[in-house]
Symmetry: C2
Subunit: 614 residues, 2 copies
């Protein structure tokens, strides 16, 4: 035991020293926040985090999430100690092109990091997602999450605390680095660990308070955590900048490297540099197993009108019967998004996350990091609640398959709080995202299936009301494509819609035809990446485009069309954007579409105006 | 007392009956969720909510927030009982054009409603903001918030719980309508009120458990709450659909009106319709007072380079010295956004909200509802955390003055988790929003001052690094305008930038001039509403526009320029959009701008390519 104590303390000193070396070399970063957790990481990496360093994606591995991402240097120092990275790489911290980024980011050359952190309060839900995925696979593994005390002010932490105990995730251990100081000054509760103990217990956790620089106490707490029948919070009282007298527990040292001319002094206080290498405990031999046979059913098909949200849920249930990796998360609206249809096919792979969208997305990020194909759904309006988690999911290179129902003013009477009218703008702005918006049942089925194979964030926007069938079960809907539903030799205008507005465009075409105007109609079922070539041809052919969306006029389909046209050469012609340009209230779907000027009559009128045919 | 008990019970029955009548007439809505809180509202409106119905904005009034917005019918029934609206208006629920919308919305004709609700978990922070504003004015008033039990899963509720106790807001009372059933089925904790009592106490609140249909217990709990030296949570065990046997505590009745053919039966079970009118308790006579004299200082001015985030904070400190209504909320980064400069001028009007952005925006919504001019600031990236709150702020017709610092890849080494690259898309998509992006100190000062007078959501994007002065203290920056910084007779191309990219455009202009190419340069300091006429002239004059932004290529300045051009007539010419089109990592600001292709060299090269001058 004394040997281990010495090792842990030496390793902690090495992590502190390496954190200083890396940040001083970088000229920026957070050494003091790294040093407060050096002992916590040392004991964890040396004796508790069961991981095969050569096989970081082994399903028997424990997983570690550095929720306080600004303490990345401590994590990198730990990765160096276990032989994952070398000293040269450590010292490339924050340099252009280095995988050792300012905050942890998972990259092909950095497979020991599963998810990106740095926007605070997100790591616990991610760890919970990992733990739940482990449980689905019957894996004997644990998720360990290091939390900062400042980030405990984020409600997302408490969503995850609640969900972890509700779901009985005893294989989650959270370690709270209670270092008393935030960015601006003292945290709300400083070293009052009792506050966190009482809260954690009230949220159904086991909680224990320790001195976060006493390795024996740390080891005991981790051992106890592994044996608890509940998730455990280890509340570790620490000092920011521990071990270096002139920054220890001192204000004004958040996010500041030790200046080069004081680096030596600081390192010497810590006993100088070390070069310890350790081997973390090996995970047990293990292969994932499933608790239930698959029960495949045929793909849904639709002869008559169906709401795309319903087709979405039925498609998920179909896919869940075929794919053991498919998991569905619900934001307590599964009877509206129809995700609860999955319950009949694979009950253990339908997880009710209740009304806690941030936690839902965090769990999704954690599960996909363990190789699961995870869908999450709620009303499109409420996806905004998790924008930061989704944005960070992009940095995590996460495959997030999302669906938002109740799009646009077409939901009708419930009013603007429930209407998604900014969701296309939100999802379109994300790097590498795919934005899909089907107009009928058949296209929904194909697009949901396609989402299972997509990388990055994909978003399927669905409609509350039933829409008429436009396509057959044999039609294909490649991502990035479009469908031209009507086309003539003398088309005077092109009408572009998606989802519910496509049906309005088709009706407008009828009205225009009655007035002797031939209109092309394009279904932009992929808003991103958009079918630029088809749009460019339409502009070249007809000289006038009217694009119609049940969404704000900014950032959505209309802007995507303009962007595609600008990106394919000089502009020549007229583009009329119709969308929601005022603040809606309650009303029927028809009344509200007319009010917004996105119904068939408005489209026909604006088209005639644009081509000068009054 | 017996008289009051009879009155309260009769009033509760009336609220239940009116909730049924309104939703059955509408053919949609949430009667069962309204009926569970009928007694809670009856006692509150009759004897506790001190309010002058004729003067709903009286600063001595208590305020009520219906956080579970789907129970709007109960609120409308209460407003009818106090004489604010008539029966005909009540029965216009959910009809097109009616102010009695599906979820509560504040409108000029509905001044008894202060804020919109309907996206769950947002009301408590709003109530806290009201309570804190009351305290700043030394008002003897209270905020009352009715919470649903499903929404208690939202972390935003626990952020507000923590902030309320931390800030000692004893004048907040939250009433938890513990009706056991959510939308899909039972809630996590059903009728286990102990869970909420223990959690509330752990979060520093007084908590009490009552039978939510026993008016005597309700009255006692409200009386105790008014005397507590802490915020109080009244945990009221209730039944969804209480009083009507066939829907009471029954699954499958969420969000469903009672069918017309059973309406009479339901109403008769409740004792038939009533037409009680009550007068709520009068608020005391009161005029707001301030605890501190103003200490006006001159406006900041800049002769040399300054970070616009610093100019922002210094402008706030200047304005706080002149305006007693100005309040600043910080997300624990006030030393980065420089909002903490306000501390020196008006310490009681700088409020540290810690790292809880959702609560920060909720508090802002509540404060502005009481007439305050409130700024909130954090890193632009972390504004995404509060997108749902900001979106709902639009529905609340709230005046939210926001600033996001650390915009774009130009923050450098900290990496993508800290980079705002989707913020312009988010804010631009909001109805009625104003999006500002100054490039130097002088323009920042003017724009921050202008924000004090704007309606709706306004957003100021600021830069981490210092930028050179471009303007003088006498220059004006009208919202919706732009500045043409360079213009010649033979301009071959127009370069459009804002913020940090404007400086790159100016440098690119120099490079182009050296190659004999004359470039116009426009500062789009207002991204929305954008100066469409100037942009149209530029396209007409130069035929080629290169628009450059340190933001994703979707949804930001580039799309705004295209939108403006499309909206001002037929398109003719070339628009090249430069922005962040891949996923950044760490690096220096210069390296990252070059990597993204938004630095001066890239701009000059793309401009030459676009005009065919290799």
């Amino acid at each position: 035991m004394d040997d281990r104590i010495e090792l842990w303390n030496e390793l902690a000193a090495q992590i502190a020293v390496d954190s200083i070396r890396a940040t001083t070399a970088a000229g920026s970063g957070h050494p003091s926040s790294s040093m407060s957790c050096a002992h916590l990481l040392a004991v964890l990496f040396a004796d508790h985090l069961r991981t095969d360093v050569q096989d970081p994606k082994n399903p028997a591995n424990d997983r570690f999430v550095m929720s306080k991402g600004h303490a990345g240097p401590a994590l990198y120092a730990g990765l160096k100690a276990i032989g994952a990275i070398g000293d040269e790489q450590l010292l490339s911290l924050r340099k252009m092109g280095s995988p050792v980024q300012g905050h942890p980011v998972p990259l092909p050359e950095m497979p020991w990091i599963d998810v990106a952190t740095g926007s605070l309060g997100q790591g616990l839900a991610i760890g919970l997602g990992m733990a739940l995925a482990m449980r689905i696979d019957n894996a004997p593994a644990r998720a360990w999450v290091l939390l900062g005390d400042s980030e405990a002010a984020e409600g997302s932490v408490w969503e995850a605390m609640e969900a972890a105990s509700f779901h009985g995730a005893a294989n989650v251990t959270a370690i709270l680095d209670l270092n008393r100081l935030g960015q601006r000054g003292p945290t709300m509760h400083q070293w009052n660990g009792d506050v966190f103990r009482v809260r954690a217990e009230a949220f159904g956790w086991t909680a224990t308070q320790i001195d976060g620089h006493d390795v024996r106490q740390i080891d005991r707490a981790y051992r106890d955590a592994a044996e608890s029948d509940r998730p455990t919070l280890v509340i570790a009282r620490t000092e920011k900048g521990h071990g270096v007298s002139f920054i220890s527990d001192a204000p004004g040292w958040h996010g500041k490297p030790i200046p080069a001319d004081r680096e030596q002094e600081a390192i010497e206080e810590l006993g100088g540099p070390r070069d310890l290498r350790i081997t973390p405990p090996r995970p047990p031999d293990f292969k994932p197993t499933q608790n239930r046979e698959l029960s495949p059913t045929p793909a849904p098909s639709y002869e008559s009108a169906v709401a795309t949200r319903k087709a979405f849920g039925e498609s998920l249930a179909w896919l869940a019967g075929h794919r053991p990796d498919l998991i569905v998360l619900d934001g307590e609206v599964g009877n509206s998004t129809y995700t609860e249809d999955v319950l009949a096919v694979a009950p253990e792979r339908f997880i009710e996350m209740y009304i806690a969208e941030q936690c839902m997305i965090g769990v999704q990020v954690g599960m996909q990091a363990l190789g699961k194909t995870v869908f999450a759904a709620t009303f499109g309006a409420f996806m905004t609640r998790a924008f930061d988690q989704i944005r960070m999911g992009v940095v995590s290179r996460a495959n997030l398959r999302l669906s938002g129902s109740h799009a646009g003013v077409s939901i009708g009477e419930d009013g603007p709080s429930q209407m998604a009218v900014e969701d296309l703008a939100m999802f379109r702005a994300l790097h590498g995202s795919t934005v899909l918006y089907p107009a009928d049942g058949a296209s929904t089925v194909k697009l949901v299936a396609a989402m299972c194979e997509l990388e990055g964030v994909s978003y399927l926007r669905t409609t509350r009301e039933a829409t008429a069938p436009l396509y057959g079960a044999d039609d294909d809907f490649p991502v990035g494509g479009s469908k031209t539903l009507a086309r003539g030799e003398d088309d005077a205008v092109t009408l572009i819609g998606a989802g519910v507005t496509l049906h309005q465009c088709l009706a407008a075409r009828e009205a225009l035809a009655a007035d002797g105007v031939s209109a092309r109609v394009i279904d932009c079922y992929t808003v991103k990446p958009i079918d630029a070539a088809t749009l460019r041809s339409a502009l070249d052919d007809t000289n006038v485009i009217v694009v119609v969306e049940d969404h704000r006029v900014e950032g959505g389909l209309g802007d995507a069309v303009l962007d595609a046209l600008a990106g394919t050469g000089p502009l020549r012609g007229t583009v009329v954007k119709l969308g929601v340009a005022a603040l809606p209230g309650s009303g029927t779907a028809e009344e509200l579409r007319a009010w917004a000027g996105i119904d068939a009559a408005s489209i026909a009128a604006r088209a005639k105006e644009a081509i000068g045919r009054p």
